[in-house]
Symmetry: C2
Subunit: 246 residues, 2 copies
C-alpha cells in the first residue's frame, strides 16, 4: 500500500447526515463535499431518498448520491472509523471536548492520514441527539453570529469541508493573471514619472521653483498602482500627444 | 462618531448579487450572511425578486431580504464603496490581482474599519462579466477541487462571510462543556492508578515480581482520557465492590 497523501486522506473522511428532513439539503451537501474533494456520503434514515430534489441540488455531484451508503443508525454508519466528529450548534452536558471548526480541521486531516474519520451532522431542526453525539470523540462548532446561529445544513457541511481542504492542501500562491499582468521594472516607472514632470512643467501646471509635493504624490500613487509596461506605454503615448498639440 | 469596532466593520460590508437566476439562492445567501454577522444585501437585476422561494430559503434572515437594495447595475450598487472585491471561479485576462479567500478576508476587514466594502458575486451559470469585475479592485478565489469547482452561489457567500468573520473576530477558546467536564487533578488520577494496581495484584492478574508494562500502559490511557473526578469515583467504587466480592 502506498503511503497516504493529503488527497487520499480526504478520501478517507466520510460525511454522515443523520435523519435529514429535506432531500435538497442532501444534494447540496454532496455538492459542497465534492467541491472540496470529499466523496464518501453516508445517510442515516433520511426522510426522502433518493429524491429528485436531492439530485437537482447536487448538480455535478450526483455521483456522490449514487454511491451514498444508506444506514439504519449512526452506529452502523461509524463502522470502520477511528475518529468520529459531531458538528453541533449547541453546548451539551457531559460531552466530548469542543473544538472550533478551524482547530478541528488539522486534527481531522492528521487522523485521516492514519485511518477512517467521520463527520456527523444532525437533523435540520432538532440537530443531533445526545445518543448520537455520545458515539463521537470530538464535538465541533462553527463560530457564528451569537444572535443568529442558524446555519443551513449544507452550509455547515461546506464550511467544514472547506476548512478540512485548507488544512490538508496548501493552495499555493493565488493564480497569476497573465504575462501582461507583470508590474513594469523600476526604471520604466521612473521614466513615466520624469515624463510626467516635464509635461507638468512645460504646460505651466507645475512651477519648478515651487514644486511642493506634486511629484512625490504621483510617485506614491504609481507605487500603489504598480503599472504594467503596456500601461506605461499608453500613458507616455498620451503625454507625448498632448505635448505635441500644445 | 464612535471609533469602528470589528462588529461595526462587518456592518459596513455589503454583499452584491448580480443577475441571480434562482431566488432560492438569494434567500440562502441572506441566511449565510446573517449567520456571520453581515446584513447589507444588494441585488442587481435579479430574475425573480421578491419571491416566495427566496423567503423560504432565508429562514430567520428575511429581514435582510426586506431591507435589500435593488439596483439596475453593479456600478449603482457600488456607490459609496472604496473597495470592491469580485468573487470569481475563473482566471481572467487583464484583471486585478487575485487573492485566496483567506488572504483577502483580513484586507477586507481592515478596509471596512475605514470605509464601505463590497463583495460582488455573479450569476449562477455565467459568473461575473468582465465589465463587472473591471469595476473591482480585487479578485478573490476560493480554493476548490480542481476537478469540480462548481460551488453553489450561497455556498460561496457562506465561505467568504465565514472567512471575514474569522478575520474580524477572534472566537476565543471553544465553549467549555460544564463544570463536571473539568479533568481531575494529578493526585486523584494517581489514586485511581494505585487502586487499580492493588486490585490487579490482589486478584492475581498482575504478578508484582514481573509487572511488565501493565501500569505504564494504564497510565498512558488515562493520560489521554483525562478522567473527571466523577469518573474516577465511579471506577474506584466499582473496583472496591469487585475487591469486596472476591
Amino acid at each position: 500500500m502506498n503511503a497516504p497523501t493529503p488527497l487520499t486522506a480526504l478520501a478517507r473522511i466520510r460525511v454522515i447526515l443523520s435523519r435529514t428532513s429535506h432531500p435538497g439539503n442532501i444534494g447540496a451537501a454532496a455538492r459542497a463535499m465534492k467541491t472540496m474533494g470529499l466523496s464518501r456520503l453516508y445517510l442515516v434514515a433520511p426522510r426522502h431518498f433518493p429524491d429528485p430534489q436531492a439530485h437537482a441540488m447536487a448538480a455535478g455531484a450526483v455521483d456522490l448520491l449514487d454511491n451514498a451508503t444508506l444506514c439504519d443508525s449512526v452506529s452502523a454508519a461509524l463502522q470502520g472509523t477511528s475518529l468520529a466528529v459531531a458538528v453541533t450548534a449547541r453546548r451539551r452536558e457531559l460531552a466530548s471536548p469542543i473544538l472550533w471548526a478551524r482547530g478541528a480541521a488539522s486534527e481531522i486531516v492528521a487522523e485521516a492520514m492514519q485511518g477512517e474519520v467521520a463527520l456527523l451532522f444532525g437533523n435540520e431542526t432538532s440537530g443531533l441527539a445526545n445518543e448520537e453525539t455520545d458515539l463521537c470523540q470530538r464535538l465541533v462548532m462553527i463560530p457564528t453570529n451569537a444572535d443568529f446561529k442558524s446555519l443551513n445544513l449544507a452550509a455547515a457541511v461546506q464550511i467544514l469541508c472547506y476548512e478540512i481542504r485548507q488544512a490538508a492542501l496548501d493552495p499555493g500562491p493565488p493564480p497569476s493573471i497573465t504575462e501582461a499582468g507583470q508590474p513594469a521594472p523600476h526604471e520604466e516607472v521612473d521614466g513615466l514619472l520624469n515624463h510626467l514632470e516635464r509635461a507638468a512643467i512645460s504646460s505651466g501646471f507645475l512651477d519648478p521653483a515651487e514644486p511642493k509635493r506634486l511629484m512625490p504624490r504621483m510617485r506614491r500613487m504609481f507605487a500603489r498602482a504598480r503599472p504594467e509596461r503596456e500601461e506605461i506605454a499608453i500613458l507616455r503615448g498620451m503625454l507625448a500627444a498632448l505635448e505635441k498639440e500644445s
